[in-house]
C-alpha cells in the first residue's frame, strides 16, 4: 500500500512538472484539474494506510471543490472575465 501511495506522489510531481513547463495557459489549467482528481484517490488511500476513517470525508469534499475550481477556470478561459 505504501508503494501505491509513493507512485501517486510521483504522479502528482508529473502534474506539477506539466504545470510548470506548459507552453499555453490551458495546459497549466489541465494539469491543475488532473491534480485535483488525483488527490481524491490519494486521500482515500491515505485513509486506509493511516487507519483513520474520517479522512475519507476530506476526499468527498475535495471532489466538489476541485469541480467548482475547474468550472471557474474554464469560464475565465472562455470569456476572459468572471462576471455574468
Amino acid at each position: 500500500m505504501n508503494t501505491y501511495f509513493l507512485i501517486l506522489v510521483g504522479c502528482c510531481f508529473a502534474c506539477l512538472l506539466r504545470a510548470a513547463l506548459g507552453k499555453t495557459v490551458p495546459d497549466r489549467m489541465v494539469a491543475i484539474d488532473i491534480l485535483g482528481t488525483l488527490a481524491v484517490g490519494m486521500t482515500a488511500l491515505w485513509a486506509v494506510i493511516s487507519k483513520k476513517d474520517f479522512i475519507i470525508d476530506v476526499a468527498l469534499a475535495w471532489i466538489f471543490l476541485s469541480f467548482i475550481g475547474t468550472l471557474a477556470l474554464a469560464k475565465y478561459l472562455a470569456h476572459k472575465t468572471l462576471d455574468e
Binding site: 512538472l17 490551458p26 484539474d33 482528481t37 488511500l45 476513517d53 476541485s66 474554464a74
Partner: protein
Amino acid sequence: MWNELIGKIVIGIGVAFDALGCLGLLRLPDVYNRLQAGTKCVTFGTCGILFGVFLLKGFTGLGVKALIGIPFVLLTSPVGAHALARGAHIFGVKLWKNSVIDKYAEDRGDNPRL
C-alpha cells in the same frame, strides 16, 4: 482474506491507470490530447482506487463513503474536462499540426458566443 487480495489488486489497477494518465499528460503534443489522456485515465484510476477501498473495508463507514464517492467522480470530472476543452478552443489554442479534423470550429463559424 479474499477481500483483501482482490481489493489490493483493484487498487493496483487504479494506480497503474493513474500513472499512465500522468505519463500521457507529460508526453502528448497539444492541450486537447493531454486533456483526453489525463481525464479518462485519471477518472477511471480514481474510481478503481475508491472501489478497491470499498472491497478492502466492506460495509463500514469508510467503505460506504468510498463507494458513494464513485458516482461523484464520474459526474464531475468529465464535465470539468469538457468545460476546459471548450474554454481552450474559444481561448484560441491551435490544434497539433498532424490533427485531421476540427468539427467544433465548423460549428462555431463566426458566432463568438457559442
